[in-house]
């Protein structure tokens, strides 16, 4: 039981981060490594606003909005200029941007790890042989709400359908009168805001915010989108949970036989060997 809870919490965070990456990869075919830097920005902004206002929910929303805007900025000032170049160009830019962001955060917020102490005033749920802490409740419920909203957005609104159309064929979508610019910007906004949510949640959960917190995320999220089939949203969601359950179960069964990160990549290699298109290929591609 405890294992399932742990895996769900871990998977929730993987999923939140991967959604942005998947959206962006799905539409622009860019591997947005700097997304991990965006995630860190979200955590820092959340912490800063929480320290300033003392209101966690306000801080969370401010952080999501501002980080979302930063994400749009990354698209319109950087990626948009190189979209016509070979795909290696945006990739290299993305990696460079990620490193620059980490150092920028260090200069602004300092090198020391910062605690993110938050007491929501809810009690931990204690049952026989398991415990769900208040922060785990927070993560599970916010992820659940986000996923439901995302599902509604993608399937019930015009904007969602426009995003899907752009992911299918960007040029064609433009030709059919969809404002591609606006759709892509929105995808960056949405993805970045969700990354900020993930950053704040992880900051609270680990009680720890620091400039290089995106390192691990940068490659874990990559594994998730490969597993999920490059650009499939539902695939990314399922893959995030598969990864977290694989990691947690293996640790429970065998102990720390391998570092977690090794497990993630092992799973990825196996999938690529036997199912190179990922577990959940998008029907249309």
């Amino acid at each position: 039981m405890q294992i399932v809870i742990n895996a769900l919490v871990l998977g929730s965070v993987y999923v939140l981060i991967s959604i942005g990456l998947t959206l962006i990869y799905g539409i622009l075919r860019i591997l947005h490594i700097a997304h991990a830097g965006i995630y860190t920005l979200g955590a820092f902004l959340g912490l800063t606003f929480y320290a300033l206002t003392g209101n966690f929910w306000l801080a969370l929303i401010l952080s999501m909005v501002l980080t979302g805007i930063a994400g749009v900025g990354v698209y319109s000032y950087i990626y948009r200029r190189v979209l016509s170049k070979e795909r290696i160009v945006p990739l290299v830019i993305s990696i460079g941007l990620f490193i620059a962001m980490q150092d920028l955060y260090r200069l602004i917020w300092g090198a020391y790890k910062k605690p993110f102490a938050l007491d929501l005033g809810i009690n931990d749920i204690k049952g026989k042989g398991f415990v769900i802490t208040q922060h785990q409740i927070l993560i599970l419920s916010l992820t659940g709400i986000s996923l439901i909203l995302l599902y509604l957005l993608m399937n019930k609104t015009k904007l969602g359908k426009a995003m899907k159309a752009c992911a299918d064929d960007l040029v064609m979508a433009g030709a059919l009168g969809i404002n591609v610019e606006r759709v892509v910007s929105f995808a960056f906004f949405l993805g970045s805001a969700l990354a900020a949510l993930a950053g704040v949640l992880i900051g609270v959960y680990e009680n720890n915010v620091y400039p290089t917190m995106g390192d691990e995320v940068s490659y874990k999220a990559f594994v998730v989108i490969v597993l999920g089939g490059f650009g499939s949203l539902s695939g990314a969601v399922v893959a995030g949970f598969i990864l977290s359950f694989a990691e947690t179960l293996l640790v429970a069964w065998k102990g720390f036989l391998l570092p977690r990160d090794a497990i993630a990549f092992l799973v990825m290699i196996l999938v690529l060997m036997f199912k190179p298109e990922g577990l959940f290929r998008r029907a249309s591609t």
């Binding site: 405890q2 294992i3 742990n6 871990l10 150092d103 260090r106 300092g110 090198a111 020391y112 790890k113 605690p115 102490a117 931990d124 415990v131 802490t133 922060h135 680990e206 009680n207 720890n208 620091y210 400039p211 290089t212 390192d215 691990e216 947690t248 640790v251 429970a252 102990g255 720390f256 570092p259 977690r260 990160d261």
Partner: protein
């Protein structure tokens, strides 16, 4: 005319230089070790201030030349050449981790420049040669002291081990295990974890079922804070024993629900010490840098203090004279209670055990038995 100018320039430069003695420092100021690097730099800067306020060395002022090694062995090696050949430092302090320090140690030995490692623990560092010294407590000594703390002081018979899987964690755990067995305790559980591990719940569940008397967990403050937090969450109330890696105010801050309280660690920094230099250091550090000092800062402080003393004993800035003098340094104003170096260039000091009570470190026990605290025994 041009030659004359050049000569004048050289004279001017050497006149300007005459007033200072340069000490080099390499620290990680970016990359994963950036926070420890900043602490080490601040500690060293404070020591230079302390020495200069007390009249300097050989009538000259100390000057610190420092560079960022990015926690990268390649960088620390090229910085070694830079510090010695370009900046002309007379001795060097490593404020970096074991990896970069170990790589640079061989270079300093070859360049015959004394190097004092502040807090890097890998046993091989000092084996680089006669010019390489260590202020920090060797892992074997600290592990041994931890075993005495567990078995003698805390009366543990059954011990669970959580081992961080790197040089630091493994060498501590091995020393601990050997000594604990010798003292008659039983290791009922042992598990390794990666440095970046964040979720110990699954492992702690297993530990809980075994119901050991204490848990000895090697780690740094950032994973240790997770171990104590998650242990409390799961209702594990046995004492957790840590080491100097825990020794940072951040260990307490990053633990949730005050879970750090009750943890006992072996370390070099005795915050309750009455010695004036410790009190001055703790107060001045917080005033100057806006945060409480940690073990890393204290070790870097001492490394500079030891070098200053060695230069004074040597009576010159000749590198080989400083090296010889380092073997003789004792009775200095040291924050970590440094006594002297052994012939293998390892530090001898009392090992301080601190307990966390009311979210602060306090003195718990002091181990000064030479059989335990002398490296190489």
């Amino acid at each position: 005319m041009r030659r004359l100018l050049a000569v004048l320039l050289v004279v001017a430069v050497s006149l300007a230089m005459a007033g200072v003695i340069k000490i080099g420092l390499f620290v990680p100021l970016s990359g994963i070790g950036a926070d420890d690097g900043e602490s080490a730099l601040h500690g060293a800067m404070l020591a230079v201030k302390y020495v200069n306020d007390h009249g300097g060395v050989l009538g000259k002022k100390l000057e610190l030349v420092y560079y960022d090694d990015q926690t990268d062995p390649k960088q620390s090696v090229s910085l070694a050449y830079k510090l010695v050949q370009k900046d002309g430092v007379v001795a060097v302090v490593s404020g970096s981790y074991s990896g970069p320090t170990r790589a640079a140690a061989g270079i300093y030995q070859r360049l015959k420049t004394p190097m004092v490692s502040a807090y890097a623990v890998h046993p091989d560092i000092t084996k680089a040669g006669e010019y390489i010294f260590r202020v920090g407590t060797l892992a074997t000594v600290q592990g041994r002291a931890g075993a005495h703390l567990a078995v003698e002081k805390l009366k543990a018979k059954r011990i669970a081990l959580l081992v961080m899987d790197n040089d630091f964690g493994v060498s501590l755990a091995n020393a601990f295990k050997a000594e604990a067995k010798k003292l008659g305790a039983e290791i009922v559980f042992e598990e390794k974890f990666a440095v970046g591990e964040k979720d110990f719940r699954t492992i702690l569940e297993k530990v809980k079922k075994l119901d050991p008397d204490v848990i000895y967990a090697t780690g740094y403050y950032f994973n240790a804070s997770k171990i104590v937090t998650q242990a409390k969450e799961l209702g594990i109330y046995q004492t957790i024993i840590g080491q100097e890696g825990y020794d940072s105010p951040l260990f307490i801050e990053l633990s949730k629900n005050h879970a750090a309280n009750g943890t006992v660690i072996t370390t070099d920094l005795d915050r309750d010490s009455e010695r004036p230099v410790v009190q001055w250091f703790m107060k001045e550090y917080e005033k100057e840098f806006g945060r409480p000092a940690d073990m890393v800062a204290a070790s870097a402080f001492d490394a500079v203090m030891i070098l200053a003393k060695a230069i004074e004993i040597a009576g010159s800035t000749s590198k080989s004279a400083i090296k010889d003098a380092l073997y003789k340094v004792s009775g200095i104003d040291s924050v970590t209670g440094f006594k002297h170096f052994t012939k293998d260039r390892e530090a001898v000091r009392e090992v301080v055990c601190q307990v966390i009570v009311g979210d602060r470190f306090h003195r718990f026990w002091v181990i000064d038995d030479p059989e335990i605290v002398t490296p190489g025994k």
